[in-house]
């Protein structure tokens, strides 16, 4: 058994130039599609922007959650993958920029931002203490403050350790990580309520916020599993990093995706069962205007395919299988956010050319952030004291 670290690259691994070309190509296609979409139907454009924002944010905070989770449970198998999570968490500061158009156009999306509507609506008037513009912006600021604070802390200690190898830095991260997980639960839950559930301010589901938080974890996990598998396939990760480590990634993806399905189904079943007019409206909107087939396909897209594809032990170790399941789950996460936001726009039918720009822009953003972050630091936390144990991990 090799226990040394001679085969580890201590400098950043250059990404192939084709990756940058891909990012530029998708970015250009996205912007070309974006401009007519924005001119043609601005409300729908803003709704799609919210999808983009929620998706990018999900991947970012989900990745940061995985960093915090690793420190909290003191996992060793995931140490070689932690830098990937840290790099993808850089989508959080980027999300701040993405939030600006959303805030500027919030009157087109959020019914409760109109004072005259709220005044004439008994329910909204009662909710005005929470759903009002200053408090909404203050809450967003608090969420981002929490995420950015822990993002800076985790990333800085990790990068500093690359140079010094100071074990106290790991201890510091381990100490603060539990606090982050608790704050993560609150901030992401409320972010889901504020950004997505308040699109339909009359409708309430206590499961919505937690489901959004788990959605973020699944999205972050799927994106980083995809990156890890692609790096491994291109020989950029150490030879020694074996199937056992990838098995754990696959198992985590399998478990979290199934957990998300559990939460989504719990929300649906209780509302479907009680069949109360106030609660049914949200699902009713997803039965009409052609959305029914999209809703029905969720069972297969979100649950059946990833569940069956990752069920067996050998599937979780198979890099090819992991790659396409990670892509599938990422698309499914995107589709879910699309399905949450778009039917809340009046008279919106599914799958218009006006929505096509979103996935292109999202992929472009993801690749750009990855290239930028990975050019700054080695692909694995080279001086982490637990790295040898992580590289020699056996099931």
């Amino acid at each position: 058994m090799t226990t040394g670290l001679d085969d580890i690259r201590h400098e950043p691994t250059p990404m192939p130039p084709s990756l940058r070309r891909k990012a530029i190509t998708t970015g250009i296609i996205g912007i070309v599609l974006l401009i007519p979409a924005a001119l043609f139907d601005f409300t729908r454009f803003l709704a799609n922007w919210l999808v983009l924002f929620a998706f990018v944010l999900s991947v970012g905070v989900g990745s940061l959650f995985l960093v915090g989770l690793e420190y909290t449970v003191r996992a060793r198998w995931s140490v070689p993958f932690r830098r990937i999570w840290e790099n993808m968490a850089a989508l959080i500061p980027l999300s701040v920029i993405l939030a600006v158009p959303l805030i500027l156009g919030m009157h087109s999306l959020y019914e409760w931002t109109h004072a005259d509507v709220v005044a004439g609506d008994h329910v909204l008037a009662n909710k005005a203490a929470y759903l009002n513009i200053p408090f909404f912006l203050a809450r967003l600021a608090v969420y981002f403050a929490v995420w950015l604070a822990f993002y800076r802390l985790f990333i800085r200690t990790s990068l500093k350790q690359d140079g010094t190898g100071d074990e106290d830095l790991t201890r510091l991260s381990i100490r603060v990580a539990p606090a982050f997980l608790i704050l993560f639960a609150f901030t992401v839950t409320f972010a889901g309520i504020d950004l997505l559930m308040s699109l339909t301010p009359h409708w309430v589901s206590t499961m919505f916020g937690p489901a959004f938080a788990i959605n973020a974890v699944v999205a972050g996990l799927a994106a980083t599993v995809l990156v890890a598998v692609l790096l491994k396939m291109n020989g950029m990760l150490p030879e020694r990093l074996r199937q056992d480590n990838f098995y754990n990634l696959g198992a985590l993806l399998f478990a979290m995706n199934t957990f998300w399905c559990y939460m989504a189904f719990s929300q649906f079943m209780l509302i479907w069962y009680s069949n109360l007019p106030l609660e049914m409206t949200w699902y009713r909107a997803r039965y009409e205007n052609g959305w029914f087939i999209v809703s029905l396909s969720m069972i297969v897209v979100q649950f059946a395919v990833p569940f069956i594809a990752l069920l067996s032990r050998s599937a979780k170790m198979n890099l090819e299988r992991l790659r396409w399941v990670a892509i599938w789950v990422l698309v499914a996460r995107f589709l879910d956010l699309y399905w949450i936001v778009l039917p809340s726009v009046p008279d919106a039918t599914p799958f218009s050319w006006k929505d096509l720009w979103v996935p292109f822009v999202a992929v472009s953003i993801g690749i750009f952030v990855w290239i930028r972050r990975s050019s700054r630091a080695p692909l694995i936390p080279v001086r982490d004291p637990r790295l040898p144990a992580g590289l020699n991990f056996h099931l």
Binding site: M1, F265, F268, Y273, S312, H394
Partner: protein
């Protein structure tokens, strides 16, 4: 030890897991195939060194889970959809979303039980009454800080002298032969003996009785309250909430029961005779319904053909025959009056038999009367 002892295998002792891995590789190079290792704690990655195939337990769990899903879904479909159709909030009788939680639980239950049983049966190969390692002097070390390599006697390369030599590598602390232990004799003679089994039965009875006594008389506090014990109003039970102590309360004055229709001719049989007409159509359905109700309410006293010879004769005041000329000549309204208001000993049946049923019973009675007293024109 008077019996000749049969060799079960050999065990070699090592100081560290790394020595053990080297020993396993050496033994495999020598062509041994029936090898296993003993360790005080799980050795991660040893499966690859031993070239063990992944456990098949997952398939047991999968099969049991699929069976659980099938059982749960079909049982709920049968119970709620077919055998005892239950309309819950206008949902379809077989409403699969509502059945998923139970299906999920039963799937987990089946899969976990099957996994435990499968582990005991297929992986641990129980019941075994002992293990030859237990007789080894190395056992003490193997359960604290040493690591063992075991070669089974079933190995084709196994010959005790060669094994001893082969395993005596540089890192081996010692090699010992293992002997089959006569442990199943212990099971046969000690465990399956009558006194021991009687003792088990006695312990079971004693503990059940003690539990019952403590539960019943010892003032034991139940671990949880049963759902039937709730602080709520129960119909027909007393309640301290109201001054009159009645759980249901009295109906408001002037309350009328649903479908109640006042009977105008309560004290006027002649009026009923002339004024009332049977409103029910004379069809096979009304006749059959009338027969059913007649057999429930009239037949016990009046007899199956209304001859006054029901099964309650001699236990109850004798009921008059309904085949008498008097009754045959009564109009339907007059008979309806008797059913509704009662006559002599017969009470009113207005509370038990609905209005329509009473009229249908009269249809049936007419058919019964005609069966025994047919007019001549009925003869073909």
């Amino acid at each position: 030890m008077s019996e000749p002892r049969e060799i079960a295998g050999a065990v070699a002792l090592y100081n560290t897991p790394d020595d053990l891995v080297v020993g396993v590789a050496a033994a495999r190079d020598l062509g041994f195939t029936h090898i296993d290792v003993v360790s005080p704690y799980p050795l991660h990655g040893i499966d690859t060194v031993l070239d063990k195939k992944p456990s098949r337990l997952g398939y047991v769990a999968l099969a049991a889970g699929v069976i659980g899903v099938t059982i749960a879904k079909s049982a709920q479909w049968w119970m709620s959809g077919v055998d005892y159709p239950l309309n819950v909030g206008g949902k379809p009788l077989f409403s699969w979303p509502a059945f998923i939680p139970v299906t999920f639980e039963i799937m987990v239950l089946c899969a976990s039980i099957a996994t435990v049983i499968g582990m005991i049966a297929f992986v641990n190969k129980l019941p075994q009454y002992g293990n030859s390692l237990l007789g080894s002097t190395f056992m003490r070390d193997l359960t604290s800080d040493k690591f063992g390599l075991v070669v089974d006697a079933a190995d084709p390369k196994f010959q005790d002298t060669t094994v001893t030599l082969a395993l005596s590598g540089p890192n081996v602390l010692g090699v010992e032969l293992l002997y089959k232990t006569p442990t199943d004799r212990f099971f046969r003679e000690q465990v399956m003996s009558v006194p021991f089994l009687l003792l088990l039965v006695a312990v079971a009875f004693a503990s059940a009785t003690a539990t019952r006594v403590v539960w019943r008389y010892g003032g034991a506090v139940p671990p949880f309250t049963l759902m039937k014990h709730q602080q709520k109003l129960v119909p027909q039970n007393p309640s301290s909430l109201f001054a009159d102590g009645l759980g249901m309360g009295q109906p408001v004055e002037g309350t009328v029961a649903r479908e109640l229709m006042p009977y105008r001719f309560a004290n006027d049989p002649a009026g009923a005779e002339t004024s009332l007409v049977n409103p029910m159509p004379l069809t096979q359905a009304t006749l059959l319904r009338g027969e059913v109700r007649f057999n429930v309410f009239c037949q016990p006293c009046h007899g199956p053909r209304g001859e006054g010879n029901g099964s309650l004769t001699a236990k109850f005041p004798k009921a008059p025959s309904l085949q008498s000329k008097k009754v045959r000549e009564w109009s339907d309204g007059r008979i309806y009056h008797v059913l509704t208001a009662g006559q002599n000993v017969m009470p009113s049946y207005a509370a038990q038999i609905s209005r329509d049923d009473r009229w249908m019973i009269i249809h049936h009675l007419r058919a019964v009367q005609r069966s025994l007293n047919a007019p001549e024109r009925d003869v073909p």
